[in-house]
Symmetry: C2
Subunit: 449 residues, 2 copies
């Protein structure tokens, strides 16, 4: 039997785990500084919680878990005879795998409402599963990383989430564009255009990044928008300031959106930004549940899709019977950020090797000396290993190279006799003859340095 993995899922080797951990640690440290606390939800959720929350495509891409035991026992024979997967599904599966972190968070807040301080500030970094067609950079099991505050409509939270984006990407070494808009402004445009609510304007505008302004306008023309409407949309998409938009959309709900963005930008007036924060009238963000401020992160140099996004939602927990829990949150596209950092070599170099020292020896009678020295190194806090048996040094140095350890202590007969061991810098190539205690001091200083 050949070892194999299902499509779209991955093993992580130590160097990858260290790099991913580094990325998540940077993100977490910023979240912590801003007073957000971690929560975790289970991978397995009831399908009743998940189904219908992600649209038809989502329902299709949800991983469903087969009921345990004799799952067919209570199924009506007539359903089986019809061979209809859709009608059989609810009979043989009542649980599914986490599809995102938003719905579980809404479920969590609804269930634990009385245990939580309100406003409740939380972050959550956990994997999710989607039965998407696997392709380059797209996985079926991948991490999401969300930060949200619920239970308040204060706009200071929008401002601090923008600061979080600014500081996380700065610390990761990525220069990004932070694009901001407001659903009420888009609403005002729709109002001004005198369109029905179920128009395709927002989904079409969402393609702005891919097909450009003229592409969007062309598509809209095909959708039978009139010339006057197209002209207004062009003027709207070309504007770059809140006051331009205010002039285009007077006496519409856009005014409220504009005022909210002004308040948010106002909070950041004295804040030294590391990245551009840009009002972007064309930013739409497809998701239905946003009701106010929206934001999206793009890498100006990459052709990749966004590195994150978010916004305010008025009614996240309503579906679970908890009303009036306005919230705002953003998420980090962890897998894309990782990929970009990897391509641009933005990870610190020393991340792959936590092991600092290896002891090599070629005489079996040194074994207990080696073991004791190893214990001493570890007690001193120096991550160390020994080659597991006396062997030819050439073989042992090969192993040392393989595990990328920076220092080796070499013990042969003369070292064993004299108690002076050879400490070899495997990167620099230098070596010195030292007593055990001096070796420990030297290595401890290395770690601190």
């Amino acid at each position: 039997m050949k070892a194999s993995l299902p499509q779209g899922v991955r093993d992580f080797l130590p160097a990858q785990v260290h790099r991913r951990q580094y990325m998540f640690d940077v993100i977490k440290s910023v979240f912590t500084r801003f007073g957000y606390e971690p929560i975790e939800t289970p991978v397995i959720e009831n399908l009743s919680t998940l189904t219908g929350k992600y649209g038809e495509e989502g329902d299709r891409l949800l991983f469903k878990i087969l009921n345990n035991g004799d799952f067919l026992a209570k199924v009506d024979q007539s359903i089986l005879t019809k061979k209809n997967s859709k009608s059989l599904l609810p009979k043989i599966s009542k649980r599914g795998m986490r599809y995102d972190l938003t719905v579980p968070f809404a479920r969590f807040v609804s269930m634990h409402l009385h245990e939580l301080p309100i406003p409740f500030k939380r972050y959550q970094i956990q994997p999710v599963w989607r039965a998407d067609r696997p392709q380059k950079g797209r996985f079926r099991e991948f991490y999401q990383c969300d930060v949200d505050v619920v239970g308040s409509d204060a706009l200071v939270y929008e401002a601090e989430l923008l600061q979080i984006y600014d500081q996380v990407f700065d610390q990761l070494g990525l220069q990004v564009k932070i694009q901001v808009n407001h659903r009420q402004i888009l609403q005002g445009l729709i109002q001004k255009l005198d369109l029905a609510q179920d128009n395709k304007l927002i989904t079409t505008m969402d393609k702005l990044d891919k097909i450009g302004l003229e592409g969007v306008l062309l598509e809209l023309t095909k959708q039978e928008y009139g010339q006057q409407q197209i002209d207004l949309i062009r003027a709207y998409l070309r504007s770059s300031t809140l006051s331009e938009v205010r002039e285009l959309l007077p006496e519409t709900s856009a005014i409220q959106g504009i005022e909210e963005l002004e308040e948010i930008f106002g909070y950041l007036e004295n804040y030294t930004k590391q990245n551009q924060i840009l009002f972007t009238p064309g930013l739409a963000r497809g998701l239905d549940y946003y009701t106010g401020f929206i934001v999206e992160i793009n890498d100006p140099k990459a052709e990749m899709s966004s590195l994150g996004g978010g916004g305010r939602y008025a009614n996240l927990t309503e579906v679970f019977g908890v009303k009036n829990m306005s919230g705002v949150g953003v998420s980090f596209g962890a897998e894309r950020i990782y990929q970009l950092m990897d391509e641009r070599a933005l990870f610190p170099q020393n991340l792959s090797n936590t092991i600092r020292c290896i002891i090599l020896y070629d005489i079996p009678q040194a074994q207990s000396t080696v073991f004791d020295l190893l214990s001493t190194l570890r007690t001193a806090g120096i991550p160390s290993v020994m080659y597991p048996e006396a062997a030819k040094f050439k073989k042992q140095f090969k192993y040392a190279e393989r595990i990328q350890v920076p220092y080796a202590i070499v013990i042969g007969q003369s070292e064993l006799d004299s108690g002076l061991y050879t400490l070899k810098d495997l990167n620099g190539g230098t070596q010195q003859s030292l007593e055990a205690l001096s070796i420990i001091d030297t290595l401890k200083n290395e770690i601190i340095r």
Copy 2:
């Protein structure tokens, strides 16, 4: 719709996440010191990898994932007509959820053999899923924590794994009994008793903790063991040193086991143990794949089952076609350890509140001053929040209490006018009037202290 969770799975609130993180960080820091590196494997594995590896019960308790799309499309109508869950299962499910960390590790080593240094030292801390009947302290989604080295049969690894157990439990504040035995010793006993290989001796002996020596002997009598055999087993189970057992089982394979344990204990002669490491002839450990050294952790004060265990296995990866990969590893019963630490209040007290400071204010015109001060606190590395709007102080102090923040900065009209803010120690009750910079210095010192 009421928010709900499936049976046997849990949400973790911030205080729990922090405590679990603390426990895992202690464990990881010891693993790191001993030169073990982290790996991660996916939750979703092929059922071909998982099935048949955990016995019949395991196959039953595995969570299976339904194939996506029209999963019945290619199923033979005759299978559906029979309404037989067992024969339908492989037609509609080809993937399952991780059931333990051992089989995925064997699969991992087999797949990545040429990318790994051999011997390969790894640890893995990830959740697993079992459709067990949920009960107190037993979950369907729970963490396992394994540390293994494969590709060497050197006994120094057994010795260092004992040190790891010793140091982890010491650092967590738990005093444990580390019980050690060897499969070859048990083999020698079976040989001496002249039993067939498929006898029930080991499974019966595994009940020693629960039913005691006389209970085990009684069960064996019922299994038609003769008096002479019972006498030998009694003498064996009553012995407490390797030399006693050596005398009981001469010229059997026990001798090799005894010599190996002597070598392992020899390495630890100069090591200062924090916990008892005991040769325990009655320790059997049910799992089939152990072939040498075995170990189990018990809490002397608790009636709970073991806190961990492990041993050497000669052929972990053989099923995936990779031979001669002897390994040894141990695991930590993370959920039980957590429960015990929680009951005994062994977690540091300051784990629930990462937030150090909250700014309270009752006049709307202070809002931008508050926001700027908040930014300054955060930039200085002090995890801080503000109450989201000007409100009655009583309400704000209630929130401060709820989030367990130790310091509050209070800003009213007079503070706004003077630039001297009130810093209140919410635990001690004292307060001082300070400039922003002095507040930051004070809080920074608090964090370091």
